[in-house]
Symmetry: C2
């Protein structure tokens, strides 16, 4: 079995939905043969990571057809994430994709969506950070049970102090709520806000990340401009409920980020609280806030629709348990978030192929 | 049976919770005797109207004990509503109580609460008007199925043109949405807004009303000041959901109406969307948005808590049916609104006993 023969054997394996084979796309690396044992790696783009099982099976069949059933095939996978950024930049170096999660108003579950999106991306094999920049009500400390924890500082080689993010469920975590007490939070909203937030965002030592998810403050205001001026955001995800008022506010958000002077790509819209399902009646869907309002809005604005997240609750629990749903055994909602994350991975990949890197926006200070 | 003997016989009948008898309170009028038939009227304050059945039974027993079992007792009830207004005033003459329903933000169901409160007050025997002053999204036309109807104008004796409210389910109805097309609604928000709204409110011919319920625009803004400058509001009802963000916004509303220069009495807070009950599992309560946040907020601000309104839905329906829930067969929610209306009647009565009439506020025009 030469490398050439092995590649020929695998040249019929194609990822569903693609035209080139995994050999033509140069996904095969690190071929190693030891007696009748064959090892190789498939370097998979993140957007195709859901096809691991399929590729494993197809590769094994192809090899055994070519070389006999006694060959042991060991496929290793590495997942690569595309980026529209050059990773040598000074702002958030090593972060491939920065995703800002926004909502037109509060109360639509933006923080819940951000946290569980980050966890679902992690579950797809990516390295992920979650930055809670919601100055009006940082929720990461409670949601991840790290309230009152003070993050460590460390000094870099050039003598600069940086904040070390916390680690929880395999995520890197940082929240404005971990740096200030509730009572002092007002500093983030005063005249000092702009410089304080810039420093907070740029001084966290994220290391290498495929995705940094930023839980933005709700609404559309100066604080959003500050963050967009500081961070070259790959794209924005808009969260809405199917309620009319929430949709009207989501329109404002879409309009803001689409403005000529800001112009951040919108990755898409996700609908939260799409329906309610009692844990006691798992097949019933109650469209409390109306049906598919988010889907219609995404169609109207011609932006991708990223998914629907239902509310599932048991009568035995009161709501906030302090554990993100992705870490619970609530399979219906977990599946919704995994599907949503898959769509985000695909849409971010498409965005990186089509568009140039986002630059931090430049706006004359008011 | 002389009038004197009859009053003596009834002098032991006391409304639960009161100290004086119905005779001492001068509630008995129009006594009429024909052979062994006795007719009289109990003129009941609105707040005690739920005791009709009790009073009917007690009166009959008292009369039969005094004059024998062969007397036929016919009790007639009239319900009187207290007012802190003098009804000869020029703004909304004949309207005894003006209740403004407000919310800190949209999406909490303020319009649903306003409409069904008006219907529940009607069911208690009061004459009620509903004024939809929500310039941002008038909902009465859809909720009452009167979309596209144009209200009539009529000329008064002194040659002034007034708007005649519509009649539906025994309510008098008027909505900004009935006067302007959706596309022209913007006029209510421009520089003309203030005078247009003043004219709209004062030019409706409400006639005699026990309660006028005003569905206010959501939030706290100039438009609210305009309305408060135009109308001497008896009191304000604040609507909130148990969600944290909604409660935070409700606080802003409470603060606004409590400001020294506005100072409109707050009748209380009602919690909407308190829990979800599937019609298929009527005993189950799902506290989707948290539990009793509204009650805690009312306690914190020391204002009356007026009740909890649940969401009840069947999987067969999508939500908006175009019929207010008080006119449906949804007994759980109807009972909640009837209880809420009873509490409102009591609290408005208490307010009228304790406080002077509200004057339209005077604020220097900006």
């Amino acid at each position: 079995m030469t490398d050439q023969e092995i590649l020929e054997a695998l040249s019929g394996v194609v990822i569903p939905g693609e035209t080139k084979s995994i050999v033509q796309s140069n996904y095969i690396t690190d071929i190693f043969v030891n007696k009748r044992n064959l090892f190789f790696t498939i370097k998979l783009p993140m957007k195709d990571s859901t096809h691991k099982g399929f590729l494993n099976e197809q590769s094994e069949t192809a090899i055994k057809n070519a070389f006999g059933n006694d060959v042991n095939v060991h496929v290793n996978f590495t997942v690569t994430t595309s980026s529209a950024r050059t990773l040598e930049q000074t702002t958030l170096p090593g972060v491939k994709n920065i995703i800002a999660v926004v909502s037109g108003k509060g109360g639509v579950g933006k923080s819940t969506v951000s946290a569980n999106l980050a966890l679902a991306l992690r579950e797809s094999g990516a390295t992920v950070g979650l930055l809670d920049a919601d100055i009006y009500g940082p929720s990461v400390p409670i949601m991840f049970g790290v309230r009152g924890k003070r993050p460590m500082m460390r000094e870099t080689e050039n003598g600069k102090g940086v904040i070390v993010p916390l680690d929880r469920y395999g995520l890197k975590l940082m929240s404005i709520g971990l740096l200030v007490d509730d009572k002092n939070a007002v500093v983030w909203r005063g005249p000092m806000a702009s410089s304080a937030i810039k420093q907070f965002i740029t001084d966290v030592d994220w290391g290498e990340l495929d995705y940094l998810v930023i839980d933005m403050p709700p609404g559309t205001g100066d604080i959003h401009l500050t963050i967009m001026q500081t961070v070259p955001v790959t794209g924005v995800i808009v969260v809405s409920t199917p309620q009319d008022v929430a949709l009207a506010d989501a329109k404002k958000g879409i309009a803001m980020f689409g403005q000529a002077q800001i112009n951040v790509p919108i990755i898409g819209l996700v609908e939260n609280m799409s329906w309610f399902t009692p844990a006691e009646l798992p097949d019933n869907k109650y469209y409390i806030f109306g049906k598919e309002g988010g889907k219609k809005l995404a169609d109207e604005y011609d932006i991708p629709f990223l998914g629907q997240i239902p509310i599932v609750q048991s009568i035995r629990e009161g709501g906030d348990l302090g554990v993100p749903v992705m870490m619970s055994d609530e399979q219906i909602v977990k599946d919704a978030f995994l599907g949503f994350a898959d769509t985000v991975i695909r849409e971010v990949g498409a965005r990186n192929e089509k568009l140039a890197p986002t630059k931090p926006i430049e706006i004359t200070e008011r």
